[in-house]
């Protein structure tokens, strides 16, 4: 099986590259000069509804034309080479409207053929894709009889069955309950890491993006406000988090008396990571005879990055 890891000797592939992209609908400006570089791996497009994510996706797919700026997708301009671009991509839209009468296998097979797979290959790959997303016998049922969770999986299967280079997923966990959400995210992570497809997930769920993405592009008001790999973005001074089951303020006093800088939030203390802090905490807790629920370093989370605002 071919390795999906990027070859370090090759220059980094740009999946999507945008410079100054503008899109207006009448007097509303949906994208106000968006700059972004989306590379290989799993990238999250993070922003609230109305921030411009869906508009950007429509431009990437060449389904709408932009008013200004440059956009390159897999080396082509979707405005002029839309057909070429779309033949190499898979897409799962946000909405759940699918033809009700078609059985899931027929739908996925047909869409694979429409994405230029030869007939026999389409049959086989549709079958494989549906098993992969966890639709076993349900695949023969009409899509109209399926639950939201099953539909999300059908959409995912149709997006990947033709083995595209890039898959665009718009709110793939919408409507799913917590367990289904976890399964879907794990599945997407697998697809992105093992199968050699680049994935772009458009979502407003920060925790989900943080969980499975390698890089993130944060969109707000039609512009990119932060972007980068998760590793880079989360770099920052590490602190220590201590959660106890009672008397947090007393523990804080003890530690302050020893010269440490502390903030207290309920049962949780936050300290800087200076020398000797671990033992000081341990001893303070032992002396007070309280319970130590949690201890650990706390790097920046994506939320910190987000709330920190644009650089």
């Amino acid at each position: 099986m071919a390795s999906a890891l990027p070859d370090p000797s090759q220059p980094a592939l740009s999946v999507v590259s945008a410079r100054g992209v503008v899109k207006r609908y009448g007097s509303t400006v949906a994208l106000a000069g968006l700059d972004a570089d989306i590379g290989p791996g799993i990238t999250g497009l993070l922003g609230s509804n109305g921030a411009g994510k869906t508009t950007f996706i429509s431009l990437v797919l060449g389904l709408r034309s932009r008013d200004a700026g440059e956009l390159t997708v897999l080396g082509h301009d979707p405005a002029t080479a839309g057909i070429e671009v779309r033949s190499r991509m898979g897409y799962a839209p946000e909405h759940h409207d699918l033809p009700a009468e078609l059985a899931a296998t027929d739908l996925v097979r047909h869409l694979s053929e429409m994405h230029l797979l030869p007939q026999r290959a389409a049959v086989q790959r549709a079958n494989d894709a549906l098993w992969l997303v966890g639709l076993g016998e349900e695949r023969f049922r009409p899509v109209g009889t399926m639950s939201t969770g099953q539909r999300q999986r059908v959409k995912l299967a149709s997006a990947i069955a033709h083995d595209p280079e890039v898959v665009l997923l718009d709110e793939p966990t919408d409507g799913l309950d917590p367990m289904q959400r976890t399964e879907m995210l794990d599945l997407i992570r697998r697809i992105g890491t093992e199968f050699g497809m680049h994935i772009v997930i458009s979502s407003h769920h920060l925790e989900e993006v943080e969980r499975i993405c390698d890089a993130v592009v944060i969109v707000e008001g039609g512009e990119v406000v932060r972007a980068g790999t998760l590793a880079d973005l989360r770099r920052g001074p590490a602190g220590l988090v201590v959660e106890v089951d009672e008397r947090a303020d007393e523990l804080a006093s003890i530690l302050r008396a020893r010269g440490y800088n502390i903030t207290v939030e309920g049962d949780v203390l936050l300290l800087g990571g200076e020398d000797g802090v671990h033992d000081a905490v341990r001893d303070g807790v032992a002396d007070l005879g309280i319970g130590l629920r949690r201890l650990g370093t706390r790097g920046r989370t994506l939320e910190d990055v987000y709330m920190g605002g644009a650089t």
């Binding site: 099986m1 071919a2 429509s58 797919l61 389904l63 709408r64 839309g82 057909i83 070429e84 779309r86 033949s87 991509m89 897409y91 839209p93 946000e94 909405h95 409207d97 699918l98 033809p99 009700a100 009468e101 027929d106 047909h110 869409l111 053929e113 429409m114 994405h115 230029l116 797979l117 030869p118 290959a121 790959r125 494989d128 992969l132 149709s158 033709h162 083995d163 697809i191 093992e194 199968f195 050699g196």
Partner: protein, 291 residues
């Protein structure tokens, strides 16, 4: 391999696709074929085949009856059989019914269900989509226009009134022309109507109305003094008349369109076909398929 050799674990993981891929234009053909199958009810439950089957049966009935007649009867005279020119006129209702079934089924559900968006998110654009749909609908309409005419040819041959070797290519060409132009008109008009609504039933009714109402309004108007040229709006009768002319026959009645020169009638039909296609194209340019 036989059991007893070295045990092997097979990897059921994902397999990338390294095989050949079709060219983008292939998607047009795929969609056209898919559309044809869907509107004829193939690959769907039995009840979706009923109406198309009945309509086709009605359309072929005169031809098949003629064939049977030719085979069984004695002393047939040429005028016993239905003429080619007459045929389209005779099965006019079946044609209307078929058109009202096919185009709405081909176009409306895609817009209703979000499928159009999924198609356009692939190697298709709106023009190619319409082309594919148009080809699919046209191919199916040809089944009901050229098909029966070919059966009539068989009936004539069996009865001994078939064309001579020299005349055959010309006759076949005429059959093709008449069948094609009739199918084109019905395809174009029914697709134009279907581009206005996502409800199949409403589109079907509208198609039938379009094929009935203009003629019933125009003809009395002409009787009351309006110019004959107005009769070019009497679809589908204009194309039936063109059919007669293609076969060099005289129709039985004296509709106003008879008064018009052949090139005028042909131009009128051509204009109607173009107009329908244009309307459909314009409607589809505006539809918001991406949500």
């Amino acid at each position: 391999m036989s059991v007893g050799q070295d045990a092997r674990l097979f990897d059921l993981g994902y397999r990338a696709y390294d095989g050949p891929r079709e060219r983008p234009a292939r998607a047009i053909l795929t969609l056209a074929l898919f559309t044809m199958r869907r509107v004829l009810g193939l690959g769907r439950g039995g009840r979706h085949k009923v109406l198309p089957a009945i309509t086709l049966a009605i359309a072929y009935l005169p031809a098949l009856t003629s064939v049977a007649f030719s085979v069984l009867a004695n002393n047939i005279v040429a005028t016993d059989l239905i003429t080619y020119g007459d045929y389209m006129f005779i099965i006019g209702s079946a044609l209307a019914l078929f058109a009202a079934l096919v185009a709405p089924e081909a176009l409306c559900p895609d817009r209703r269900s979000g499928m159009l968006g999924l198609y356009l998110a692939g190697p298709l654009d709106r023009n190619r989509y319409l082309l594919a749909k148009g080809l699919g609908v046209l191919a199916v309409m040809l089944l009901i226009t050229v098909g029966p005419l070919l059966f009539m040819l068989a009936a004539n041959v069996i009865a001994g009134f078939g064309p001579s070797a020299g005349e055959t290519p010309k006759l076949l060409l005429r059959i093709a022309a008449a069948g094609l132009v009739t199918a084109l008109l019905y395809t174009s008009l029914s697709m134009a109507v279907s581009s206005f609504t996502t409800r199949r039933a409403a589109a079907a009714v509208a198609v039938v109305l379009l094929l009935l109402v203009p003629a019933s309004v125009v003809r009395p108007a002409i009787d009351a003094g309006a110019p004959n040229a107005l009769d070019l709006l009497s679809f589908p009768f204009v194309v039936f008349d063109l059919s007669y002319r293609i076969f060099g026959e005289q129709p039985g009645d004296d509709a106003p369109v008879r008064e018009l020169a052949t090139w005028v009638v042909a131009a009128g039909v051509g204009a109607a076909i173009a107009a329908g296609a244009l309307v459909c194209w314009i409607r589809y340019r505006r539809i918001e398929a991406f949500r």
